[in-house]
Amino acid sequence: MTSLLLSVTTGAGSFILVIYLQMDKDVQEDEGKGEQKGRRGKVMEPREKTLLMDAEGVRRAVTRIAHEMVEKNQGTAELVLVGIRRRGVPLAERLQRKINEIENVAVPLGALDITLYRDDLTTLAEQPVILKTEVPFSITGKKVVLVDDVLYTGRTVRAALDALMDLGRPQSIQLAVLLDRGHRELPIRADYVGKNVPTSKKEMVSVCVQEIDGQDSVTIQERM
């Protein structure tokens, strides 16, 4: 309908638009089929993989974030790191080591499992595996830095904020992520970002860390 209206007013330009809308529709249909395939248990064929960060890139990003953290908080007083399971935890450990190198202080480190705070539990077919929350110190009055691998819709961070509040009343909460890929669905932003990458929702971003996946890398690939 939109294209028809435009074709009356602008002639040639609208022709292109008509084609564009048609393409977009095709893509959406394809995506629908893909989802159905997924439900039947077939793996979706990924298109080519692009490397966004290699091990060196990850290391440099962590180093920079550690410096920024110390600078922004004017040292490490009351600073604590809390990694979001799973891949936020090794990243938080690395930040802790880096801060130790810079300031010679071991800031407390915790791990947060946000499964029980997810807003999509009743829509998932499988019950997600719950891992243990291990925050072996009081966060009341602390400056908590939440650490995660990818910031996307913001829903994980929303859940993490609720989970943290249930553990105490921090003085402030900051957010550090290795990668921000946009597409926020909630008013959430990161204080420290390793890399900003504009992505399409159709793309899949995967962060690998040595401790879990055997290597450090950030890759992006398009789903068919």
């Binding site: 499992d113 029980l116 705070y117 499988e126 019950q127 719950i130 249930d166 553990l167």
Partner: protein
């Protein structure tokens, strides 16, 4: 592994993976119980009704707290103060609760099979909190959770269940669960309290308490169910205590690091001596804490996901 069962009626028939999933899920739940703020929002908007036709302190409170810690709305019905006294049948009571939109019904009943009967009649999910001498699955799970926590494993352990096996749903749930998980189970009690068919469940049955305790990794002492005894099963409570009570001397027959469990409430000085019940090897209070954790795990697995493809 995905939990696909509508109800939790017993440990019989559950797979190694299903029991493992329940026990694994209980580990992070225990951390929540130890927090200052014991509340997670997971089951917000879900409702749980505890329908108890038999007396209970720990199981009912444990289920209720498990539900509340996970933000479910919980209601208790004690049969003695409900329409049951007006003669309402179990199925009608169940349907009434169902019609009010309960998501889960936790039921205890004196008749074996009552939970299964109810489960077939209601849309709500049913957890059996003890039915006659049949099963008490969450007790079996909390015993296994406690053993696994203390011993690091279940497979290969020798677990002796001591006492009134005949009337014990705890014994049956323990037997089903432990044998599925690869433990060796011995049962021991006076011959009148040892059902003859018990050996068919894959356990060693004996009336010789010394043989039963020798080399055991775990002793699960059962409560002598005084309310269920018919006449003539054993001469006196005193004699039962002398012949089958777990005391310090008998405990020396077990492995040095033996773990002593008791489902409670204890008849001190009858099936278990005071110094054993309060001794270092007993984890009886820990069992109570773990009971809340395994019930939270069961509630999460049964209400956490969506209902597609659920069945028994």
């Amino acid at each position: 592994m995905v939990w696909r069962r509508k109800d939790l009626l017993g440990l019989r028939g559950l797979s190694h993976q299903e029991i493992g999933k329940l026990l694994d899920t209980a580990v992070p739940m225990k951390e929540i119980i130890q927090r200052d703020i014991k509340k997670v929002p997971t089951l917000r908007g879900k409702s749980m009704v505890c329908l108890f036709y038999e007396a209970s302190t720990r199981t009912r409170t444990s289920f209720e707290l498990a539900g509340k810690y996970m933000s479910a709305d919980t209601v208790n019905i004690a049969a003695s103060s409900s329409s049951v006294v007006k003669g309402e049948s179990l199925i009608d009571t169940g349907r009434t609760i169902d019609a009010m939109g309960a998501d889960i019904i936790v039921m205890r009943h004196s008749a074996s099979g009552a939970a299964q009967l109810l489960a077939g009649e209601v849309k709500a999910r049913v957890i059996n909190a003890g039915d006659g001498a049949h099963e008490h699955p969450t007790q079996g799970l909390l015993d296994m959770f406690t053993i696994r926590e203390k011993k690091g494993k279940l497979a290969g352990l020798t677990v002796t269940i001591l006492g009134d096996i005949l009337h014990s749903r705890v014994a049956r749930s323990n037997i089903w669960g432990l044998t599925t998980m690869g433990a060796r189970v011995r049962v021991c009690g006076p011959s009148t309290l040892l059902p003859p068919e018990i050996a068919a469940l894959g356990v060693e049955a004996t009336t010789d308490i010394e043989a039963a305790l020798r080399g055991a990794d775990v002793v699960n002492v059962l409560r002598l169910q005084l309310e269920r005894q018919q006449k003539g099963l054993f001469p006196t409570i005193r004699e039962y205590g002398r012949l089958f009570g777990l005391n310090r001397d008998r405990l020396r027959l077990c492995k040095q690091d033996v773990l002593v469990l008791h489902p409670g409430p204890m008849n001190r000085g009858v099936e278990i001596a005071d110094d054993v019940a309060d001794g270092d090897q007993a984890s009886i209070e820990e069992q109570v804490t773990n009971g809340v954790a395994v019930r939270m795990a069961a509630l999460y697995l049964m209400m956490g996901g969506n209902n597609d493809g659920v069945g028994n």
